[in-house]
Symmetry: C2
Subunit: 202 residues, 2 copies
DNA sequence: ACAGTAACGCTAACCGTTAGGATTTCACAA
DNA sequence: TTGTGAAATCCTAACGGTTAGCGTTACTGT
């Protein structure tokens, strides 16, 4: 479970954590726009350049832990039991995730995000990244090494659940409504597969 | 056809055009990142503040004429004959538009866009805006004043054609593949409509 | 102990963007 | 014609995220 880490790696990880925690606390207290990078660096007792050595942008400070989301979605497809379809596994996982996001604990976080156009935009880029990763998993599940157009499309539709569910009056219902569409699209993609023709060499 | 325009409006439009044309020319010649806003302003013989009075951001200088795209998609739904479904009308229009974008004339433009992360991101925001407008048209077409979750989802799927078709080996085929998925999703959304229950007043 | 390298620091700048406020240009009515 | 208000443009100065360049410290492996 615990990887072998050198002192250097541990210190680096600690610095990264300290910066992200400091930044998020300050953002929540005073607002994202009202806190500058120079302030964050000073409060975390590091140089501004160190902040950007750990995070590619100011927005990334907020979505510090987004890799886990991507892993959960990919695992839902690759690590599911044989009894469920990929779409069903994704639907289940989406219900859990959306439920987490709409819980009272996450409310302050998403209020912070919704309060800033830059953060909302970064969020949508994040879903896009996760969609690319999910497209790979879906392609593999359908027996392809590279994602085809339909694989990418389906992955996007799945990730589209998050923005739409978050703004829907009843998020859980929204998840089911959208996943019903995805199920139908998925079935259509399965049929087209039979019509595929191997591409002749140019 | 020609609206009644005052001299003031004509001059304003001319200034806007001059700025956009100057900027696009410079970007194409020297690259988007290599040309600063201050340079564009100087070349167009206006103040920097005037540039931002006409365009909300540097990226908007490139996508000067994007409103037309939105109008074409919305019109495809609202102004179609009774013999076609909305999905079919959109498929036809998408074929025309994607064909335009992949023509030799547009190639340099999209190379410029693909060469800059900022422009690619602005492009995706643009599709998102158009998806919101299309969602309204779809909702109206299905007899709703406000777009429901499924309306928004379908609109997004339609707009998702552009990024996916542009990176596909055969764009025209990609359009059909994706619209086949959309057709299936659309049919599924139509069925769910029967299950809708009027919301009781709170 | 020592050399190499990764992490961190400091300074100074670049660039998009905006506030503030002056100045010109136009539309419209007295 | 002239006056008046509004819209368009201009100038200056700054703010905030981001990066380049280069020096310093802390750790790793020998």
């Amino acid at each position: 479970m615990s990887e072998q880490t050198s002192r250097r790696e541990r210190k680096k990880a600690a610095t990264r954590q300290a910066i992200a925690n400091t930044a998020l606390t300050m953002f929540l207290e005073r607002g994202y726009d009202a806190v500058g990078i120079r302030e964050v660096a000073q409060a975390a007792d590091v140089a501004v350049t160190t902040v950007f050595a750990h995070f590619p942008s100011k927005e990334a400070l907020v979505f510090d832990r987004d890799q886990g989301l991507q892993d959960r979605l990919v695992d839902a497809v690759t690590g599911r039991g044989r009894r469920w379809s990929a779409a069903q596994a994704l639907r289940d996982e989406l219900h859990v995730m959306v439920h987490e996001f709409t819980g009272e604990q996450s409310a302050v976080f998403w209020r912070l995000v919704d309060g800033s156009p830059e953060l909302r935009e970064y969020e949508s880029r994040m879903w896009q990244r996760h969609a690319d990763a999910l497209a790979l998993a879906i392609a593999a599940d359908r027996g392809r090494a590279e994602p085809a157009t339909t694989d990418k499309a389906l992955a996007r539709y799945v990730l589209g659940v998050f923005p739409l569910a978050r703004e829907a009056p009843d998020p859980a219902t929204a998840v089911d409504e959208i996943m019903d569409l995805v199920d139908a699209a998925w079935a259509a993609a399965r049929q087209n597969r039979a019509a595929e023709v191997p591409k002749p060499a140019p």
